[in-house]
């Protein structure tokens, strides 16, 4: 792999199961040493992309090169170059944290001395020293994720796939994980991650691809995407249904949540736009108001014209 080669090169990737199309012509290029985030809701095909790139699933059509290897003809080369942390915890719960890491070091064919040293380094770096000799089944969700990632990284892969790495984690564990990913990037590792959170893609990625029903509907830097999704939205909570109905009538572009008595008005990010919303409101009728920066729902609404709910199919498990 030379510096001029992209770490990942995909063109015209398709995948379908019978009549059901999961990926419908995906093109993406990830230069070495950069972070690419695939952003999309459940069922968009994110995991399928990761499974194909890691040579777990055979692609339909398309040219796919990972770390310079053709995933169809040279899957062993792909496997030797990558590290994968999937959505579901890939640790051995009957083994201790130390034993899990040692298992990975041995399967990476490190010699005894290097393996022992690498295990110690990973335990320290991932804050698992105290729990090193406890069975992994006793670990918290955040610890399991850290161990999972440490197991992926102990072989020092140059290219890592992270499939929804922070799904189900509390905010602190999520930030810890982001810090680890940033360290890897600083070391020159290439990262492809999938996420449902715009914030996560924003925090970590150089480029973001928005995946919807098996197609990349937008691609660009976080700033470029946000420019296309200007203002996020304003959420207004009303004290009664009459107030909600009146405001909803005044803002036909807004979505209402009758149960929570909340109106969600898309904004353009300008003060004038915010003022227009505020001007129509009666102080007594409003229980609360929040101005939200764009989230995945806003991005989706703006880029695809439909909301993220009701995915056509469940994500294909690894």
């Amino acid at each position: 792999m030379t510096a001029t080669n992209p770490a990942i090169e995909v063109s015209g990737l398709t995948k379908s199961y019978g009549d059901h199309t999961v990926l419908d012509g995906v093109d993406l290029t990830v230069p070495e040493g950069t972070v690419y985030a695939l952003l999309g809701p459940n069922g968009a095909g994110k995991t399928t992309v990761v499974n194909i790139l890691s040579a777990l699933l055979t692609p339909g059509d398309g040219e796919i090169r990972v770390a310079g290897f053709d995933v169809r003809r040279e899957p062993a080369g792909v496997r030797a170059a990558i590290g994968v942390t999937g959505q579901f915890s890939a640790i051995d719960e009957l083994l201790t944290g130390r034993e899990n890491l040692r298992l990975m070091a041995d399967l990476a064919h490190l010699d005894r001395v290097t393996a022992t040293a690498a295990v110690t380094v990973m335990l320290e770096r991932f804050d698992l020293v105290d729990a090193a000799d406890r069975r992994a089944q006793t670990y918290s969700g955040g610890m399991k994720r850290r161990l999972d990632l440490a197991m992926t990284l102990i072989a020092r892969p140059r290219l890592i796939f992270l499939d929804e790495p922070t799904a189900g984690l509390d905010p602190r564990s999520r930030r810890d994980l982001w810090a680890i990913v940033r360290e890897q990037v600083a070391d020159g590792v290439t990262v492809l991650l999938t996420t449902q959170y715009l914030e996560e893609a924003d925090q970590l990625a150089d480029r973001i691809g928005v995946l919807d029903s098996g197609r990349l509907v937008a691609e660009g830097t976080a700033a470029e995407l946000k420019r296309r999704v200007p203002g996020g939205h304003v959420s207004v909570q009303f004290t009664d249904a009459a107030g909600l109905a009146a405001a909803a009538a005044a803002h036909p572009e807004a979505t209402t949540d009758a149960e929570a008595l909340t109106l969600r008005v898309p904004g353009d990010g300008s003060i004038a736009g915010l003022r227009r919303v505020l001007d129509g409101l009666d102080d007594d009728g409003v229980a609360g108001l929040t101005v939200e920066s764009p989230d995945l729902d806003d991005v989706f609404l703006a880029l695809t014209g439909h909301a993220t709910e009701a995915p056509a199919a469940e994500e294909i498990p690894a």
Binding site: Y17, S54, L57, A108
Partner: protein, 264 residues
Amino acid sequence: MSTTYTVRDSATMLRRNLLHIRRYPSLSIMLVAQPIVFLLVFVYVFGGTLGAGLPGQEGGGDRGDYLVFITPGILIMTVASVALGTAISTATDMTTGIIARFRTMDIARVSVLTGHVLGAVIRTGFAVVIVTAFAFLLGFRSDAGPLGWLGAIGLLILIAFSLTWLTVGMGLAADSVETASNTPLFLVILPFISSAFVPTDAMPAGLRQFAEHQPFTPMIDTLRALVTGAATDSDLWLAIGWCALIALLGYLWSRRLFLRVPAR
């Protein structure tokens, strides 16, 4: 490439499986308890009567003769019992996330399976030693020399190896852990329709033909000859042949099941 590392990866996976066996001892205890219970029931409940029906002894044999007669069969049931446990542990293992990780790694994939098989053979070794010790405790005595015992150990390892490849395949083929614990049950039932507990001559035609020609009978007869110090006959080669065949088919079947691309 991965094939160069098959031995090393298999050793690593064996270490993992031995840790599993150590961390989950209740399964091992259950698997050893089953043949011991059979041994006790057959010797003390049925042994007096069945011993009297044994051929080749003046006026039939007694309970002690019957113990000697069934010990080889019980040892082979021990092997079958541990093999059943291997189907369960393989199926359980396939449900864990780490198997998905192994599939993404540049390792000799079949080492996941060889780890299970080698671990099971070691577990069988311990189980056989415990059950044999128990038989001695009940009064089992043998005229076999060291060569006989060595042959018996070799045969038991071979049987364990072949039955385990078969049950690893059953564990992989099972859609749930419950299924995996049910499909290999026939391995525990089959010894009953063999020369393990009564001489096949005493069975009605049909059943007798089945009992005489099913794989467990030459294995049991050969083991009986080895542990009692008698001379082995052509059954030895028949037993080895069956083991080789079962091991080969089990291996090919397991390998295909494990290497196939996940269906979804």
